[in-house]
Symmetry: C2
């Protein structure tokens, strides 16, 4: 049998790259005809197709809906880059299966109750001066009112906070222009006192809505719970919110439906919620002066409910921080224009969008000329006094986003299944495009910010029906990419969303995102701090204290240290694992058969799993990533012995019978492999490889693998000196394995350089 190395050089020299020389048998016209593509389809293909290695212009963060997660995708390629675990366990990332992420999820427990399900709705990117800064991402859970903080340096969820007074929450997360606060608004009214029952007969008196302002500490990268507060709202079902900007900075706007305060009961012969909650022609836009509200809270004017500061309605009214304006009809979106001058409300059961003038509203407030008060004494500003324009767009307007071009807005029309392009300054409708089907939210590039980027719009369609190959009764959603750079909108791409029903998405220029590819060795990625369980190579150990077994282990291609873990039935086992790799993408995973744990441990990360060894037996553990050619050999055994078990006789683990000849053959293979490595190194160093950061990282990684050789070499030489041929042969084999891994990376680097057109420099 020819060994690996004998053919290695040949393979290197013979390597051909199909791409460059391929001759297409079909012409472009043939392909278009065969696939039924029009010229317009070809144009759309050219506008979205992103060849291997090329990057997307924008990165979108979409709520994962009922998956409780965030979906990250690229625009215009519309390829999903990552599911980011937030409110629900995510097995790949070990989220909810390792101890560090369990701590994050625990932050979202509600009064001690474990919550493993979430309904993520509205993501928001942190802002500086009203511009997306790409540092943090926030998202809410509607079902169990919570807000999560994601750090975009590593795309990991760092914190979940549970709302102390709400029972549901749809209108979050929205940020103020400098991310001073993350806003969330209640949805279905309920008593604010948590675990307190009041009958529905006391709905008007005891049930409440509200808005919470979570204080964000940018330095810590975490919400400061103690400095956060809420404002009590009437029991109208509040919906979406938005923060003011520019002239309206300091204010927040929240719309509502069911201001009828209707309680359904179809099973009792009462008309259902849907009838009673949509009976009247107007609901209320809620306006809060949050800057002043924060001052009032600081002055001690809030009431403590469940330990949380709540500015009650009477105080808010008395101090002039809370106002209402009628808005048509059961609206969904409220969107402040990039210049901060207008607030656009879409009444989903009205054909209009209503454009309110912040200037007019301020004039009314200044003059004190209110139309009326609502049943809770909140001043109501006359709609006519506040309106700039009303524009008839079509059936079921839901949500509005903005263009880079002045005054241009796009509004989704749910019932019409269309997007309307219109001018919010002069009220003219400019274009419409059909989508497939039933669009909810839409998004333009940085379309929430003071400086939208234009170019693309994504329609977040709720029903995909016939758009894709059928996959059973539960269909994907459909995000449609639309080109908005021209006068007429052009549909570019249909993207199925394979899990969850994304409610809203935000997109940012890719160049603003600068995530890392590795951690400082020994980092707890959930706290961003050194992990107390981290060890360096050579420091691995297993400690026993009473019935607690603690393993301090490491991972590196292709072995887990330790490879044997011993416990007794009933022991509590904790395994800390540090990934010693420095190479990009060299993640290792870890699981133990039957013990239901998993951790995904990226380069430099330390994570841990913990379980009770409650059953006797032999349980393999292994690296769950295909991390190298020998990934299957990256294994170990957890031995769970009966209590007090002793070996019946002194016996050693069986040895293989290797001879000096085997050892010498292996030394020869090592020498040959080194020649291959030298060739590859020669090629790489003959080019301007230092101009390619990815190759520099690969070289670093290969060097790291080669750096492990001296230790293994010393071991095989020492064993050979003692004529222990088994040990000599196996440590020599280990040297060979380090070589193979280095060669693997080297070949990858060589291919990369050849394909990217690296230059010869010597």
């Amino acid at each position: 049998m020819k060994s690996l190395v004998v053919k290695a050089t040949v393979a290197l020299l013979a390597a051909t790259f199909g791409m460059g020389t391929a001759l297409a048998a079909e012409s472009l016209q043939d392909v278009m005809k065969r696939r039924g593509l029009s010229q317009q389809d070809l144009m759309a293909a050219a506008k979205t197709y992103t060849p291997t290695g090329k990057r997307d212009e924008f990165v979108a963060f979409s709520s994962g809906g009922q998956s409780g997660q965030i979906i990250v995708y690229g625009i215009p390629s519309m390829r999903i880059l990552k599911y980011l675990a937030v409110f629900t366990p995510e097995p790949w990332q070990g989220y909810g299966y390792d101890e560090e992420s369990k701590e994050i999820l625990k932050g979202g427990w509600i009064e001690g109750k474990e919550i493993t399900w979430g309904d993520s709705h509205h993501p928001a990117i942190s802002e500086t001066n009203g511009k997306y800064d790409g540092q943090f991402l926030f998202i809410n859970d509607k079902a169990n009112p919570r807000i999560a903080v994601v750090d975009l340096r590593d795309y990991e969820t760092k914190q979940i906070v549970a709302n102390p007074i709400f029972k549901s929450e749809h209108g979050g997360a929205f940020v103020t222009p400098n991310t001073e606060y993350v806003i969330e608004t209640a949805q279905y009214a309920a008593p604010l006192e948590g675990k307190k029952f009041y009958p529905l007969e006391e709905f008007n008196e005891k049930y409440r809505g509200g808005i919470t302002y979570w204080k964000f500490d940018r330095t810590a990268g975490r919400i400061d719970v103690a400095k956060s507060f809420s404002v009590e709202f009437p029991p109208y079902s509040q919906d979406i919110s938005d923060a003011g900007k520019g002239p309206s900075d300091g204010w927040s706007f929240s719309n509502s439906f069911c201001s009828e305060r209707y309680v359904g009961g179809i099973e009792r012969g009462r008309p259902p919620f849907e009838a009673g909650c949509s009976a009247k022609d107007t609901d209320y836009l809620h306006m809060v002066n949050w800057k002043k509200a924060a001052e009032l809270v600081a002055q001690g004017k809030a009431k403590k409910i469940n330990g949380h500061n709540v500015l009650m309605m009477d105080t808010a009214v008395k101090e002039g921080v809370l106002f209402l304006i009628p808005e048509p009809k059961s609206p969904h979106g409220v969107d402040v224009t990039p210049d901060g001058k207008f607030i656009i409300v879409s009444g989903k059961l009205d054909t209009h969008v209503s454009v309110y003038s912040f200037e007019k509203i301020m004039a009314v407030i200044k003059a004190g000329k209110f139309e009326s008060k609502d049943p809770y004494g909140i001043p109501v500003i006359g709609m006519k006094d506040a309106l700039h324009k009303q524009v008839a767009l079509g059936l079921g307007p839901l949500h509005t986003q903005f263009d880079s071009k002045k005054c241009i807005a796009y509004t989704s029309l749910y019932v019409d299944s269309q997007v309307a392009k219109w001018n919010f300054c002069d009220g003219k409708v400019l274009d419409k495009i059909s989508v497939h089907y039933n669009i909810g939210h839409l998004m333009t590039m940085e379309g929430d910010a003071v400086d939208p980027k234009g170019r693309y719009l994504v329609a977040l369609n709720k029903l995909s029906i016939d758009r894709f190959n059928p996959v059973g009764p539960l269909h994907p959603q459909n995000h449609q990419l639309i080109d908005i750079s021209n006068e007429k909108m052009q549909l570019l791409y249909d993207m199925p969303l394979p899990m969850g029903e994304p409610h809203y998405a935000v997109a940012i220029e890719a160049s603003k995102l600068k995530p890392g590819v590795r951690y400082k060795v020994g980092t707890n990625s959930r706290t961003d701090k050194p992990h107390p369980g981290a060890v360096r190579a050579g420091e691995e150990r297993t400690e026993r204290k009473g019935n607690k077994v603690t393993v301090y282990g490491t991972l590196i291609r292709s072995h887990i240290t330790p490879e044997i873990i011993e416990a007794e039935v009933g022991d509590e086992v904790t395994i800390y694992l540090t990934n010693l790799e420095r190479a990009q993408d060299e993640t290792h995973g870890f699981t133990v058969s039957t013990y239901n744990v998993h951790a995904s441990i990226e380069p430099g990360k330390t994570a841990s799993v913990k379980f009770k060894a409650d059953r006797e037996g032999v349980y393999p553990y292994y690296c769950t990533e295909f991390c190298s050619a020998l990934h299957l050999e990256m294994q170990g055994y957890l031995l769970v012995k009966p209590k007090g078990w002793k070996p019946s006789a002194k016996k050693e683990i069986a040895k293989a019978t290797y001879t000096e000849k085997d050892y010498q053959a292996k030394l020869k293979a090592i020498a040959e492999t080194q020649a291959v490595i030298d060739t590859v190194v020669g090629f790489i160093t003959s080019t301007n490889f230092k101009d390619f950061p990815d190759v520099v990282a690969m070289v670093e990684d290969a060097t790291d693998q080669l750096g492990k050789i001296p230790d293994a070499k010393a071991k095989h030489e020492a064993a050979a000196a003692k004529k222990d041929w088994e040990q000599a042969m196996l440590w020599a084999e280990q040297v060979f394995q380090y070589q193979v891994k280095a060669a693997d990376i080297g070949l990858r680097a060589k291919t990369y350089l050849e394909q990217k057109g690296a230059k010869k420099i010597k």
Copy 2:
């Protein structure tokens, strides 16, 4: 305020469809220049871009790796169509959050231990006469050895069975040519007796591998556990398997690594597993005559271990059903050629693929001319006696798939990061293409079957490194689509895999899949049987027995019946929900605030959630799908009262004050809306809409909504007769809501017909 209907007709008439008339400001050349696309890129775009509404040629089922799920995507568009929940909870689908799916997951518990994590590896599509039939899908869990059965009629997991004797399992699932059995092979050797400890010093004597043949009952669509059996193997780490076909039907082939039986212990100064397990030049291909083995088991020649039939090695050897052949070196893939004549093994640490001749092997067995026996007495067939060819392909050959063209195979090269195209009949290498990077498995279209379809190949690359926009230290995987219809392979598309590391995938012609879009009303989708908790409209009720509260509810746009559920603290609450919709894609979801349950209920399905109402308070529940314009109003309240709570005074739920004028206005709106509906109906029925099954389904759905009107109309008229204007107004509003939903569907159908070029027929 103008109401919805006033503008509806206008909107209908004014509707413009941007697509047809859009004029591109840039030329195709401009776009290519701006985006840096070559002519070859444009060709690749044309070969993969799939315009809205067009379907993919093939559907791929990829293992979800550490996500424990299956990823469904289309080829050539490479768009992910669905994540299909299998071994791990999946919150969107309610999998692990509703009672029916919990029962499926419970089937995969190991000796009573709940397992919520899985490492799915190799999917397999059911076969008839060696051809993919598109009926069922199987997949294994490596970590906690289990096999799952998915029904491709509804893309739901129907069964999980836990292996009774293994502790890990990599080589599954593979099916025999008529899906008689689903095969899985153990990986890391361990004692077969389950919860039994033997020390590693007794590895050679007490640790074992094995292969399990799960009997599949196609009529039931389930594995028949009692009729399943295993064959004991030596403690070599078995890896991939494949079933014979054609002349080799009745046999199965499993390769192995670490036939050195090496036990690592790097922390004890012993060379690691990776060194000891890859020290020798050959491992063993295991061959089992499964047809004869099944007969032996039927004859009572198996031993019962953990209640499961295991054919022990000594019996298997004595009866002539188990043989070994040396194979180079630590192989991964074993692949039987479409004609069933050859078995191709890829030794990942050897540069060759080895092509064994089934005919030669049979000749050796017939002649009884074995080379030797292994330490367990299994006859070893001489490699030279069994080989047809050995072909040097490159570094790290892993897995082989087949073309529709005779003798043509494709093998992945992990270390070279290439795919090799070669001829297994004459042993010639024909082409190579670089992939990015480190390819594990690959797949061609129906490339496992007796009749592979050619056309495309997908490279399942393990490291994506620099291919996509960066998303933190944990990267996506990269599935690369390669055109194999020409002599030279051409790279077409890079597809990031956003969750999990897919190990293997299978693809089938889309035309073979015929999934349903709805269930018969009241179906438990996990058992395929009528659900005892199902009710029809009007039969909804809440029952109390002791502290058990049982709700028999229904869901339909846009209300949940009942809308109020009452319980006392400590009650056990079960909520059965039947989706009454008949419309495609009209899924409703259900959750209750704080109580951590979720169900996804597709049209016709009945599902249930169950929880202990352990905390007092008011908990909103709602439909979690954006199912209609009024989806937010699809809500209700769970009231959890203190034990024995009584209202302090008789009080009714507050009424709204509607007048006869409000009622009359609503009647006017209803009349106007009916006019709109009539227009739409007129348009639809003037076309050949019956030629469009999707439109027929929409019409059925709209008719269904309109069919609800008479009941609500009777109610508003009865209330008006009694001058109960609140009830009259609200039931009239309900009529209006039904109209709006019917109009919504009608408009969607109209757009569909216009875009698909429906013909006027009157």
